[in-house]
Amino acid sequence: MAKIIVVTSGKGGVGKTTTSASIAAGLALQGHATVVIDFDVGLRNLDLIMGCERRVVYDMVNVIQGDARLHQALIQDKRCDKLHILPTSQTRDKDALDKQGVGQILDELQQSFDYIICDSPAGIERGALMALYYADEAVIVTNPEVSSVRDSDRILGILHAKSRRAEQGLAPVKEHLLISRYNPARVAEGEMLSIEDIQELLGIPLLGMIPESESVLKASNAGTPVVFDRESRAGQAYADTVRRLLGHDCPLRFLEVEKKSLLKRVFGG
């Protein structure tokens, strides 16, 4: 049985799609058959981040409505053959999703994959509820600021009350905290919440910390999940995150304040 993992946050713009792409690619690079699904119907982005937007012919909504078969909509990644993406529709809205249709797709995907990553849209409405409903585990993406932490708390409450596991009285969804856009220098200045502050407020185990890094934006624009960039701190931090998700012990890195070299200080960097 494949493990279903939702990547969610409540708040928009915190890095859900970046995280979904990198976790899915990271799992695939470790040899696990992985599919990542875009639940943001109408605001299709995952295929851009994954660099396969020109290859989208059919999407998840076509499959739910019976206009295409699942294998016609699945796109195999060109960099890693264990990685697949199920894109969503740009022209429809969230009402195109329903529990039964999503459930059937997930059932079918469970036959051939080890991990199913559900990239949730922002908000707490239908799209987000559909993305988290069938989850076994949840990665809560949080930025080190109060509004993001508050929205993460809200989505944790919804996971606890409205997921399939909650409704059927099964073991609760396993929750992981992923802090992204973390800048140790600004934490030291008191401009950002620290990892400890966030953990105390949310009270769930920390899966990883992704340092703020230009490489994330560059990778997104290039259509390459940042985890493929082994030189960047963000890429390495995602690789560590995936190892922890797989149960390996892996200490947190990049907590120290990065010292700027003299050259960078002179010329700006």
Binding site: I124, R150, D151, D153, R154, L156, G157, H160, E200, G203
Partner: protein, 236 residues
């Protein structure tokens, strides 16, 4: 040297499972329903099985189902993750069956003996069991303990709301909103082990709090329609 153990007298208040019918099938169905509604609150709760309604009235009323099968009832309760520990007001046969299932036979205090045939309901003041919440109450969630007290053993986060018709006790960090005496009872109180909350309300009288650094043990009550707060100081 201290003795390895000692016997001491002590009084405990235990929830009572009052059996109103000898029809175990019906009990089973209703139990399932009620446990679903109350979620985990009764899990591993020790219970005293009170069969007074069956033994204190005319025996032939429930002739269709025969006498209560204690062994089946006890097994049913255990399956539902309840812990029956004793029986009260049983017939000698019932008591014998209960002992065989590992239960103790309890005796009511003198003024409420079998012979007096006092109606069971009038002996106990009506009281709603305390609602105990063991998980964090998160932003946007509401918890309401209708008719009784509320105990929260985890955090109440900013943007969360807990309410009770009776008192509220919060043992985790309290960062949200708490409303005691939600139906207007001005004698209710709120106790917080670590208060850094947004708002406290007792019977409609409220007080808001500015963001604070660090949490303090706090109690709140009503005095002349004013919501009063003070640190909790333990007398040692």
């Amino acid at each position: 040297m201290m003795a390895a153990f000692e016997f001491r007298g002590s009084a405990f208040s235990l929830p009572v499972f009052q059996v109103n019918t000898a029809d175990v099938e019906r009990i089973s169905q209703e139990l399932e329903q009620r446990l679903l509604e109350s979620q985990q609150f009764f899990v591993n709760a020790p219970l005293v099985v009170d069969v007074a309604p069956l033994t204190l009235r005319n025996a032939d009323e429930d002739a269709s189902v025969g006498p209560l099968d204690i062994a089946t009832l006890v097994r049913l309760l255990r399956q539902a993750a309840l812990l029956p520990v004793g029986i009260i007001h049983g017939t000698p046969a019932m008591e014998q069956a209960a002992v065989a299932e590992g239960l103790a036979v309890l005796h009511a205090s003198a003024q409420h003996g079998h012979e007096k045939k006092t109606p069971v309901r009038s002996r106990r003041a009506p009281r709603t069991p305390t609602m105990v919440v063991g998980h964090p109450v998160r932003a946007g969630q509401q918890i309401y303990a209708q008719g009784g007290d509320l105990v929260v053993l985890a955090a109440v986060n900013a943007g969360a709301e807990v309410a009770a018709d009776g008192d509220i006790h919060i043992y985790g960090p309290m960062r949200g909103k708490a409303l005691a005496g939600a139906q207007g009872d001005t004698q209710t109180n709120i106790f917080c082990h670590a208060f850094a909350g947004e708002m406290l309300v007792i019977a409609g009288h409220y007080r808001t709090f500015e963001p604070s650094h660090g949490a303090v043990p706090l109690q709140a009550w009503l005095e002349n329609e004013q919501l009063m707060v003070a640190p909790i100081e333990c007398i040692s």
